[in-house]
Amino acid sequence: MEESPLHPFELHNFIPINLGGLDISINKAVIMMWVVVGLISILMIIAGSARRLVPGKLQSLAEMLVDFIRGMILDTMGKDGMKFFPLIATLFLFILFCNWLGLIPGTYTVTSQIIVTGVFAGTVYLLSLVLGFALHGLKFLGILVPPGTPGWMLPLMVPIEIISQLARPVSLAVRLFANMTAGHTILAVLFGMVISLPFYVSWLPFAATLFVNALEMCLIAPIQAYIFTILTCVYLGDAVTLHGHSEHAH
């Protein structure tokens, strides 16, 4: 039984919907996004409804998540950054739960589609640009000139800085997409071995499957969500403080 390891990334329409040439069919990825949004909402609403002084299990889990996100914002943007808390928290929870739920066999990993991560990264970057120009006007273009650059270096430094700026959303999108796709491809290859090998060796790739799945769940999924959101914080913070180098802010 041969199957392409890229088979888990294929999408088939369940309910084809065509809106004036726009394909908005319902497929597995769309349903997974609904499930993720629903799950997070239910979890947070139930956890937030009790409001006990001594928190129960669910409430302390939610408090831990909120505390983690707040720590992330305070680390990178300081107190002013708390304006962005709803955006950052939404991004973090959505990506985290997409990564986690995608690891359950039979589900779909939404973040393994570059269009999804690309739209997130593009939105974040566009927001940082709009924010920068709204707060600082044309002075915002000053981020293209690193402080302390001698005048004769400008023709070289400005193109480099433009490309390093444009690389930000690309690296944001590619990193999440590539990590998720690679992890699930490894899982699919290993599982293909389990099916095609004779039973007396097939336990070996099966054990590896379990190991890789545990690794993805404990390490890769949360760390990728963490990196995506902390970079969102850094980029928004750069736009607010007008430094391409807020490393001196620490």
Partner: protein, 72 residues
């Protein structure tokens, strides 16, 4: 879920970032050069050559900037 100030966790986050930082700048630089070559100016291979070089420089610049942010 560990604290975001946890040095191991933050350090791991930093470490796995650096590779894609280099790659993304190369993609953007080479891509811009290729678009200039093919659609805008028809300048042979030179747009992509220069684009890749500037992209490599921008990637190193991004990695350097990231390392400056390293938690101490």
């Amino acid at each position: 879920m560990p604290q975001s100030q946890d040095p191991l966790y933050a350090g791991l986050g930093q470490a796995v970032r650096i590779g894609t930082e280099l790659l993304a700048a190369l993609i953007v630089g080479g891509g811009l050069g290729w678009v200039t070559d093919t659609y805008l100016l028809e300048t042979g291979p030179w747009g992509m050559v220069i684009g890749l070089m500037i992209g490599a420089a921008a990637g190193v610049r991004n990695a350097y900037r990231m390392a400056q942010r390293w938690p101490k």
